[in-house]
């Protein structure tokens, strides 16, 4: 039963990560693959606050999300001020830089990882309670994404993404909106990291490296970018598939690369043969094809 609970928690965490990443890369059109680093910041901040400073776990979790949000603003503000393209470079540099720093400082446990993270709910109420908590956060994240994607804010986001110049001419502040969406998505990733840390009670920098970036990108691209349901399906699928591989009893050295190959291979296949993903948004993703056809007989 514990295996099933763990699987449900992993799927729910992936749903939070994929939905929040979709908010950034899909709805806002901000190119960043450093979502795992905000997941890491949330996990480490919450774990260190609860373990070393005696902060109650629920407050530590919220502070973990706040830490991720603040870090994302620190990355986004200078890079988005220049151009959206720089966000990608800045975010990759930030991801690798933070992980390098985590490996080299002692209070994070270094490359060996952080252990003895205090649990939450599991010992006092039971494992089921934690499963309910994580699933509830996942459902709330999806609902939040849906509200954003179907309300007036979505129209503003679409306008900003599709024509920033016209958006600015209407008196709207594109940079502020981009930073806000980036911060919200990163805060949700930070919360997911905190939930992860207090369940598994052990985090290492290796868990947040480029494999995670590839996995999150796969969930969104394969599921369907700019849809509410797509990343959820992508997350469920991409958590279930590696589980199937683990049943093959392969050595650990092969398992990681195989999962990575699966993720990246799937993204490439979908990019060329079904760029809209499993759940199609029915617009945008391959916009210029229609544009180039305009005027042809």
């Amino acid at each position: 039963m514990e295996y099933v609970y763990t699987l449900i928690i992993l799927i729910a965490l992936s749903v939070i990560l994929a939905s929040s990443f979709n908010l950034i890369i899909g709805y806002a059109g901000l190119i960043s693959i450093a979502h795992p680093v905000f997941y890491a910041i949330g996990a480490y901040a919450s774990a260190i606050l609860a373990r070393d400073h005696g902060v109650p776990v629920p407050i530590a979790m919220l502070l973990g999300a706040v830490a991720a949000m603040l870090a994302s603003i620190a990355v986004a503000l200078p890079s988005l001020r220049v151009s959206g393209d720089y966000l990608l470079i800045a975010s990759i540099g930030f991801q690798l830089g933070v992980l390098e720093a985590i490996k080299n400082v002692s209070f994070t446990g270094g490359a060996g990882g952080l252990t003895n993270i205090p649990p939450f709910l599991i010992q006092s109420v039971g494992r089921e309670a934690y499963v309910v908590l994580v699933v509830a956060v996942a459902v709330l994240t999806v609902l939040l994404t849906r509200v954003i994607a179907h309300g007036p804010y979505w129209r503003a986001l679409s306008a900003m993404r599709d024509d920033e110049l016209a958006f600015g001419a209407l008196g709207r502040n594109a940079v502020a909106m981009k930073v806000a969406v980036f911060a919200l998505g990163s805060a949700l990733a930070g919360l997911a990291g905190a939930l992860y840390a207090h369940y598994f009670r052990f985090v290492t920098p290796e868990q947040f490296e480029l494999l995670q970036s590839a996995a999150m990108l796969t969930m969104v691209v394969v599921g369907g970018m700019r849809t509410t349901l797509g990343p959820v399906i992508g997350a469920v699928l991409l958590q279930a598939l590696p589980q199937a591989i683990t049943f093959l009893d392969l050595p650990t050295a092969l398992l990681g690369p195989l999962q990575g190959l699966l993720f990246t291979g799937l993204v490439l296949i979908f990019m060329f043969w079904r760029p809209q993903g499993l759940v199609a948004a029915g617009e945008f993703w391959r916009p210029s094809r229609e544009a180039s056809d305009v005027g042809r007989p």
Binding site: P78, A90, G93, F94, R286
Partner: protein, 324 residues
């Protein structure tokens, strides 16, 4: 204590270790200038080049020269394949910049995982030993690797300069970089030039990765970190300015190596991320140096540039902002 000999030694080591970094930066800047692609898949080409040389020299036991040829050939072939099957296809579909970004990132990760699966995750080298005989020139230690590395870098840059300045494909590259549509009107086939630029970049990557792999241990994800250096150098050097990227790579190499005198060595790698951040925040358009005056022709050219600068900054093509 900081003596002249210490400074001279750090300077020499920095210049020699910058040799491969310069080549990576120039390859990245060239593709950005001509093909207008932030080619993160360069990391994949670097991985291919290294493991090709590793397979020929370390696994098959053949000579270093064959390993060098394998690095060059594999990187050029992989570059051509990337252009023909990847970029060209995406260009035909009018894929957005975001789509291209994701594609190059995913390709670099895919190749890294493939290398992990085939060659394992342990660091490895091209030659069995990383130790090269050292001789003293004055009080400066110069290894047997240093001179071929610096020579290889200078030779490659000289060939690139000659190619861009005097050969027809090189001139076409400059024309396509400046204005691809106008170049096409003049009968230049864009796709062939994009392919040529990718192959030239592949050759530079092959030389650079052979140099790197004969001096340091490499694992499948090493290239992704090396790529960030190339990106930082390209941004600070000025996007579209190939020679600016080369010069910046040397300066960054000197700063990074010189930092060993001031900070612990385990934090030396961290400096790269600081460079990158500072580059984006303070030098998004590169470091602007005062222009030299070179007579009438240059003055006339600068008048044209001034006229173009009257258009909004965002609409100016970054690739044409700097003249090579």
């Amino acid at each position: 204590m900081l003596t002249f000999d210490t400074i001279a030694q750090v300077l020499w080591t920095s210049i020699s270790t910058s040799s491969y970094l310069v080549l990576f930066a120039v390859a990245f800047a060239l593709v950005l200038k001509v093909n207008r692609i932030f080619n993160f898949a360069q990391a994949a080409l670097m991985t291919v080049a290294f493991y090709a040389a590793n397979a020929v020299v370390s696994l098959a036991g053949l000579s270093g020269v064959l390993g060098f040829v394998a690095a060059l050939g594999s990187a050029a072939l992989a570059s051509a394949a990337l252009e023909i099957f990847g970029f060209r296809s995406l260009r035909r579909r009018n894929a957005s910049q975001m789509f291209l970004f994701i594609f190059t990132l995913i390709v670099s990760e895919l190749v890294a995982y493939l290398a992990m699966l085939i060659f394992g995750t342990w660091p490895t080298t091209i030659f069995p030993s990383l130790f090269w005989p050292v001789s003293l020139v004055g009080n400066i230690a110069i290894s047997a690797w240093d001179l071929p590395a610096v020579g290889g870098m200078l030779g490659s840059l000289a060939l690139l300069f000659a190619c861009l300045r005097y050969s027809q494909p090189g001139r076409f590259m400059i024309a396509v970089a400046d204005n691809p549509d106008l170049a096409e009107l003049y009968g230049i086939e864009k796709n062939r030039i994009y392919l040529a630029a990718m192959i030239v970049a592949g050759l530079l990557i092959g030389v650079g990765m052979f140099l790197y792999g004969s001096r340091a241990q490499v694992q499948p994800t090493t290239s992704i970190e090396l790529m960030l250096f190339a990106i930082a150098a390209t941004i600070i050097g000025g996007i579209g300015n190939v020679w600016g990227a080369a010069t910046t790579a040397i300066v960054l190499g000197i700063v990074q190596n010189g930092s060993v005198l001031l900070i612990p060595s385990e934090w030396q790698g961290f400096l790269l991320y600081i460079f990158l951040f500072l580059a984006i925040v303070f030098f998004p358009s590169g470091v602007k140096l005062p222009e030299r005056k070179r007579g009438l022709a240059r003055n006339v050219a600068s008048v044209d540039l001034d006229t173009r600068q009257s258009t909004p900054a965002n609409t100016v093509n970054p690739a044409s902002a700097t003249e090579d």
